[in-house]
Amino acid sequence: MSTVSSDADLQQGKDPSPGLTDPPPGRNSVAPLAGKYALQLFTVVGLVVLCLVQPEFRQPGNLRSVLLQASFSGLSASAMTLLIVAGMFDLSVAGIVGLSAVMVATVMPHTTVGAAVGAALLLGLALGLLNGVVVTKLRFPPFIATFGMLNLYLAAAFIWTAGGTLSIAAVGFLPLATTQILGLPLLFIVMVLGVVACYLILTRTRFGRNLRAIGSSEPASRMAGLPVDGTRITAFALVGLFTAVAGVGLAALLSSASADMSLGFELTVISVAVVGGTSLDGGRGSLLGTFTAAILFSALNNALNLLGVTSYWQYVAIGLVLILALFVAGLQNGRLSFRRS
């Protein structure tokens, strides 16, 4: 009985377009829109101001570099958004970046560029699958389990490279980070495609609906007969794959690979997803938000660099922006009350 009704609920009833928080009913039509797209508005205004104030910032080359830098965290964060929607989490992304980059650097001299990239992406997919199995089948808490996996992956990458850096000389590989299409960096276009793919997956497919259902209520989803574990494992695998793409891109940009090439990447990826408006409670995510937040963070870092601020401030800035975003999200949800509930 409950199976049928909850399944029907999932299919018809509460199925709002994800990513858009329900606007408060009534009032005029502009205010909710402004609230809904506050992050986009803020980012655009911020970019315009930066362009006006800083001559170096508005150089086409610099703007391209902002987009290029945004594509690494954006790629990983778009798949992470799906995973967070399903009520899960992956802290091991820095390890996946390191391992996939080391993979591409190791395999490159022996085969074609395509095969090496393919091997790295496969490795990322496999690591994601492994994360998913560890979390769902062994029922380890996702945060600590993927934290442990992060260390295993980093260790594997360190041992693989004997703690050093592998340089990549393949001529066909480096253009991956430098090629432009219509004036846009190739990796940025890959990132946009990834975001769009994740958006379509989340909103237009049965798999996406399952992700949202599982994130909203795992017990209800189990009762409704949804493949909870399989769906989550797939989401983990997607994070592994997308993160490996970022790792390969980063290796191309640096023309080298080492285990610690992206330490702290998980903080950026999580921040991008959360600042983008994806609820850590699960069930709801915004890929437009993730995309915007990736660009916002990249622009912020870029501007701080141009201002001659040391890179140390970027840790502080990311942490503070994350806290601020969570604060605002708390206000919007009305969760933030100073009375005891």
């Binding site: 996996m149 041992i159 702290g264 850590l280 990311i318 005891r340």
Partner: protein, 343 residues
């Protein structure tokens, strides 16, 4: 369904039997929780003595004890945080910040003020964590991940990415000196272990912390001030990280912004290894202490055998997953025994 005649007497007897069984299960699993870490501890100890030359040398034992003590003190705070169903990822960065600022403050204003500053920094970041978790309802691990970023950045800014060396060599006695042949930090670790044990297991505060961690909704219904408890626990965890930072400065004499790589992970690992369940509601502080000794023995053995430092990542990751595996096993075993006992 068919043959059993149900009489009030038989129901009563069954119920009594079930209670006895449940009681036994609870007591046994409590013993396993309390002492489970001793088995891997003894195994690793025997292996280390047998396979690692020089493991029993005075210098090595001393360094194992001092390193274990610093991690254990952070682990006590983590154990409290886990007991209230939280997690504090910021401890490593807080210890680093406290350590570099302590070094700077000692150079500027002398040892007592320096130590005070280090502890104060731990307390402040800890309270901020607590406020974020308790009042802004941010999941503990995200809130502390954010403050980890801020604290790490602050530590790098303060030290300009290089080392801060203390000129006051007397201060180094705190970590390098001994009382009756026992290293000072080890005595501190035992003292803090006893204090936090009493706090968690023998006081009303500790009972309330476990109540909130075990069942937040019920604790709220019972009228506990959940928020104040959370702020207090994270404050204590921050202070513990601050103490560790001070000890690190005293031990090394010259510190940078990452004196101990992955300290937060080590603290979580030793707490879980020691028998503190991530489900919340309990904390085993002596277990955390033994877990710290276990971890320090592994590190020292790897060092003595000249195995590259990055293998520490491997040992730590594997140890953490092992601890999680044991924790999960313990929980499922208990629920199965309970189910078997009452059916």
């Amino acid at each position: 369904m068919t043959a059993n005649v149900v009489t009030p007497d038989s129901i009563d007897a069954q119920r009594r039997q079930a209670e006895v069984l449940a009681d036994r299960v609870a007591r046994r699993s409590a013993i396993v929780d309390r002492t489970g870490v001793l088995l891997p501890f003894v195994v690793i100890f025997i292996l280390a003595v047998a396979l690692v030359p020089g493991f029993l040398s005075g210098a090595n034992i001393r360094s194992v004890l001092v390193n274990a003590s610093i991690v254990a003190i952070v682990g006590y705070g983590m154990t409290l945080a886990i007991a209230i169903r939280g997690l504090d990822l910021s401890v490593g960065a807080v210890a680093a910040l406290s350590s570099v600022v302590t070094a700077g403050a000692i150079n500027a204003a002398g040892a007592p003020l320096g130590v005070l500053t280090g502890l104060l920094i731990g307390l402040i970041v800890g309270l901020v964590n607590g406020l974020l978790v308790a009042f802004m309802r941010i999941p503990a691990f995200v809130a502390t991940l954010a403050t980890m970023g801020v604290a790490r950045g602050a530590a790098l800014l303060y030290s300009h990415g290089s080392r801060v060396t203390i000129s006051d060599t007397g201060f180094r006695k705190l970590a390098t000196g001994s009382v009756l042949g026992i290293p000072g930090p080890f005595l501190l670790a035992i003292l803090f272990c006893a204090l936090t044990y009493v706090l968690l297991d023998r006081t009303r505060f500790g009972r309330h912390v476990c109540a909130v961690g075990g069942n937040p909704a019920a604790a709220r219904e019972a009228g506990l001030n959940e928020r104040r408890l959370i702020v207090a626990v994270f404050g204590l965890s921050g202070v513990a990280a601050g103490v560790a930072g001070v000890l690190i400065t005293s031990q090394l004499g010259s510190v940078d912004a990452t004196p101990i790589q992955g300290l937060e992970l080590q603290a979580i690992a030793i707490a879980v290894l020691g028998g503190t369940s991530l489900a919340g509601g309990s904390g085993n502080l002596p277990g955390t202490f033994i877990g710290a000794l276990l971890l320090a023995m592994i590190s020292a053995s790897l060092n003595l055998r000249n195995i590259p430092g990055y293998y520490q990542y491997l040992a730590l990751g594997a140890l953490l997953l092992l601890a999680l595996g044991l924790d999960t096993l313990r929980q499922s075993l208990r629920s199965r025994l309970m189910a078997g006992g009452t059916s």
